[in-house]
Symmetry: D2
Subunit: 395 residues, 4 copies
Amino acid sequence: MSGPVRTGLVLVGARGSVASTVIHGLEALRSGTPPLGLVTELPDFSSTPWVDLADIHAVGWDIAGDSHRTAEDLRRTGVLPADLVELGASLRDRLELNIAPGIPEPEDAGIADSSARDRLELPSVEIIEALRGDLRSWREREGFQRMVVVNLATAERQRELPPGWDELEANPLELVVSAPADFPRSLLYGIAAVAEGLPFINFTPAMSTDVPAFSGWADRSGVPLLGNDGKTGETLMKSALAPMFRDRALRVLAWEGYNMLGNRDGAALEDPSRKSRKVANKDGVLQGILGSEETHSGVSIDFVPSLHDWKTAMDFIHFEGFLGAKMQLQFTWQGSDSALAAPLILDLARIALLASERGESGPLRAAAPFFKNPAGTDEHDLHRQMSEFRAWVRR
Amino acid sequence: MSGPVRTGLVLVGARGSVASTVIHGLEALRSGTPPLGLVTELPDFSSTPWVDLADIHAVGWDIAGDSHRTAEDLRRTGVLPADLVELGASLRDRLELNIAPGIPEPEDAGIADSSARDRLELPSVEIIEALRGDLRSWREREGFQRMVVVNLATAERQRELPPGWDELEANPLELVVSAPADFPRSLLYGIAAVAEGLPFINFTPAMSTDVPAFSGWADRSGVPLLGNDGKTGETLMKSALAPMFRDRALRVLAWEGYNMLGNRDGAALEDPSRKSRKVANKDGVLQGILGSEETHSGVSIDFVPSLHDWKTAMDFIHFEGFLGAKMQLQFTWQGSDSALAAPLILDLARIALLASERGESGPLRAAAPFFKNPAGTDEHDLHRQMSEFRAWVRR
Amino acid sequence: MSGPVRTGLVLVGARGSVASTVIHGLEALRSGTPPLGLVTELPDFSSTPWVDLADIHAVGWDIAGDSHRTAEDLRRTGVLPADLVELGASLRDRLELNIAPGIPEPEDAGIADSSARDRLELPSVEIIEALRGDLRSWREREGFQRMVVVNLATAERQRELPPGWDELEANPLELVVSAPADFPRSLLYGIAAVAEGLPFINFTPAMSTDVPAFSGWADRSGVPLLGNDGKTGETLMKSALAPMFRDRALRVLAWEGYNMLGNRDGAALEDPSRKSRKVANKDGVLQGILGSEETHSGVSIDFVPSLHDWKTAMDFIHFEGFLGAKMQLQFTWQGSDSALAAPLILDLARIALLASERGESGPLRAAAPFFKNPAGTDEHDLHRQMSEFRAWVRR
Amino acid sequence: MSGPVRTGLVLVGARGSVASTVIHGLEALRSGTPPLGLVTELPDFSSTPWVDLADIHAVGWDIAGDSHRTAEDLRRTGVLPADLVELGASLRDRLELNIAPGIPEPEDAGIADSSARDRLELPSVEIIEALRGDLRSWREREGFQRMVVVNLATAERQRELPPGWDELEANPLELVVSAPADFPRSLLYGIAAVAEGLPFINFTPAMSTDVPAFSGWADRSGVPLLGNDGKTGETLMKSALAPMFRDRALRVLAWEGYNMLGNRDGAALEDPSRKSRKVANKDGVLQGILGSEETHSGVSIDFVPSLHDWKTAMDFIHFEGFLGAKMQLQFTWQGSDSALAAPLILDLARIALLASERGESGPLRAAAPFFKNPAGTDEHDLHRQMSEFRAWVRR
């Protein structure tokens, strides 16, 4: 693609920490900050026709909040440099004009803006209509030639879908009408995106590509789907390390992972119905790689407010080697949740748009290295995922 | 190869901890102990015509010691199960009959048996002759149809080679005569092996495949060389983890590795001239994968007697991500040095013999996953090494 | 006290890991093994008239099991040396003759011996009678001149006591009759001990000295009570480290403790009603020392079978210093639960008997360094507890 | 003492990180920042007549640098809050007017200001005169009613003193003339302080109170000496934890400490002649508490530039308990070197002035909790040191 192509990055959770880091990061990258953390900027991919980062402009939904306050919080916790936060003020002013009301979880209605609470009153089909309206309005107002939607919302509660959703051939727009329900928010956003022909990236532990009716419909609609649940920290480590045990024929007896975090996500995950899928995703990686029922694995996530954005994982791995010798590995990973996720959002937007241009649709298996629970594949080995990703890019 | 083929596993350091673990391990595997830690026993390789473990019989050299005492030490430190040590008594008796005097380092002459000290008096050419004589005598006495030599000696001191050795076309047997010197022991054993047409595996931090005259000569002689310096613990971790940082575009600012061990190797490594190559090998892996001068890397090895065989590594990794966010990973690895190394010795013997049968000669690049400083390649990424190894096996 | 004084050590849980380690330990100490882990053997206390370890003989109750199998398990997991287990066979034979049926938790009835199940059928008052009968019978049969009872049972479930138990003046023997209930096992054993005039040591997370009717009665009866819940690992660390933060005016923001263990206690603690008190005890130490509501503290205990007796605790401590600087400390503690507890049982028996001889009765505050939830004091600072203990011994 | 008493805090290394943190900290404390990290502000000491922090004003020596740049560095590395650095600009301007040239180590002459290099040319006796002149000039210009000198210089090189210095009765002012030498800088500053009747606090690994001629003379001169080598991180941990092992009769087999830091001190400590004393001090604590030759202890300090002020210590402790069970503890401590040291400087200034008022002179044993190598005592147990300190304060 030649010449600047104005590109809309539509963020669900546009005032959250990750979104704020993405937005400030785009500004910093334009000013020459080295693109650390951006996979698409690796030398290997220097000749790939990724969308130019300077062409990406963020808009999106949120249920409440204030992007200035988020930025200030990120400055205080050492994620965003002070001068960048100062520099970004007008950028955030502009963003605020481009934020539409999101769809809160029922238990979050109390903290949501009234406009967001209003949407909660609507039947699902009208919610989807409203979201589509937002997308069309951004496209028009901002002159976007391309758009991509990314779900960065806080972990949502588990929900059962009514019958019909497990059929690949079904049409979600019809299912929503024929069997109304309290649908997962991720699905509502995803349906709106696909209905508008826009790639949808699910970066949170939520339903989307794993819903057959949704993924089949996206496939038929020519829209790529990327997901699920960004792989940024402890699970990234698991997917890098577990292959070592497998390839050395060392039997992993136990892998206990203790996660601590203090941000909004951490607070939401105190709710078991919101935590369960995330824990399942984190755990699935080990099963996927070690392929065994022998491993006693545990995953806990605790809310430790003083850590703010600095996610800390302490893992204990007990393993058995030659002649039954018991050995162990422990690790402690400490990283800024937002600084780890933000560059991947830009990577995934580029990947989704490249897939779109190449005419690919449905779950994008090549994006597996970026997700805890990758769509379209059971491969969890980070290195095999990267090999496949490299091959896909080069194609 | 069909039918039992009696195979000699010739160990340099035949009374050491690793050798002892190999020997008892062979016995345990014959009795049905699960083959944990053995790469060649992975399901992936189930149809590869590896030599049958039941056909492998150990002989070798050592400068002193008593294999019964080694076994007892390994029992006390929890590496070998008590019943296996009991069971192995007659095996060790037989091994003792098949141990020839090794070549000590000058500073070890005091602890060496008189027969080993005698060999130290000989000119290098005669030492090589003596070693070749040992090999021929084992072949005959034990009826070996195939043999392979593995260097498991304690880390040896650094030495400069006289001129001539950096030429691929030179003949080591002639160089040893024309320019006598205090040659590295690893080279003397290697020359003896190659002269007898036997594959040579260098599992220690020592000179061998990196000596052009030696590797060129092995290549012309049709003999495979595998090395160098077994990758069993901290460096294995580095080669599994560093690719993750590289592939996520995270800049590794510092990687400090603190190793503690309490066995004979640990004691020898207190001597700086013996430690330097090992440290260099451990450090080279990071440079090889991260390919950067940006990383401040440190490697220390400390002798902590109470740990005996339980090598403990504490690593601290400082890295930088998006917008300069500083993050960190720490790990502690604790494993039995002998239990980690022993199965790899069996793997490498099988690999060397397969290469030999396939007519391959010289440095065997495919064996890279097993070595800190792999011969014939600069690839240190464990996962890429394993891909290449898998492809080689399948060929 | 001069001359040998045959002393009965009555263990609740006499076939458990701790009891087995105590019993084998006594044997080893008699043969000259250095008394590591025994506080009463510190040079500071060399002139204290402790009971001679050679005079201590173990008897006790258990609901099931086989002390030979326990010993074998402890050998396999590396807690007891193989030769000691062999040596101890006749000792265990003799112990088996001196084990009376214990009182199982209802959910353990299935795994209990029939004799133990039978006791479960009895009204509480008769259970107490039966236990007293056991004590009298041991005294007679074994010729004990002194006895002390130690509760080493697996963590028991939380129970509410009927009215009356919170009165210091009440008589437990009457309360048991007047208001029958499903009483905590710890209380039944304790009542039996006190009724027989024997000091009672509660080493588990269970009700005893914290029940006013029980402790008041023991006090009036001239019987010392020691407890509660032995302080052997992570909590010991907390009580040693938290004073440092307090004394340096460093604000502890969060102290998250993750405990893993794989023994019978670990299995029982999977039951929330059995875990709650233990977690409360572990947590109370921080509150007691840091005296603040500012600390976010968490305690988890996970059952990780492969660890067996090797309790592993990973703690993360986040703290704030000068000008709000956020700092952190992490630690990993790995110790054999049984090897840590066993010597303290011997220490406590000696302390209880010394207190008894000195005519002290009721909760023994001086024993605080040994307990997570010390009776008779709110002091949790290990160092202050030790100062007081030293002063008490010297008195 | 009633009414404001203008107090001069004379810092050697006045432009360094610790000094800068002290100076900004004083400002923040005046504005109501909670006094975290300040021992003298603990509730226990609320009635002690400490000098009012508002009365303390910093002046001092340095060999080069710029306090604005130091402040900026501390802001970037997250030690000083951005607004405080902004607020402190005029404070630093004023400080710069009150900085006199320090005495560089010979190897630092190249980076020193010309005024500092000039002093290096002078004979020691004239250096001392110049330093005394600085002290008198500050007293006069700033109207100080009390003053105290604190050595915060970078670790200095080891030096041998000429004969005479090991005599308590000698007079340093005479020794400097009679046997000229390249004297340790710490001693020159200390002599100047004592000659002016000012308490001297040695916070670095340097010679001072351990020089008999110097400490005897200070004692006779009625001047308190406090030192040596501030105990802020890893060694603080050792002095808090080692008593636990001692009091539980657990034998510490090995205690290996790996320290990483990236500040100016870290760079200086790459020089072995500057590192040796610090390592000795860190190590002495274990010997002092465990009192045993059985412990294999190691201390390493590595310069890891990316860590800047965030000193990171990884310690591995191997210990033996009941029946020889081998257990282990690991910890990782991460703290800002400056934020840990700065409040202690204020504490020590207050303590020195209180001692002075009380008429105490010579090495002040009560200050032991603050030092790695405390003057006047062999007690290294933090808790016993604190008990003694508390008693001294209350006196």
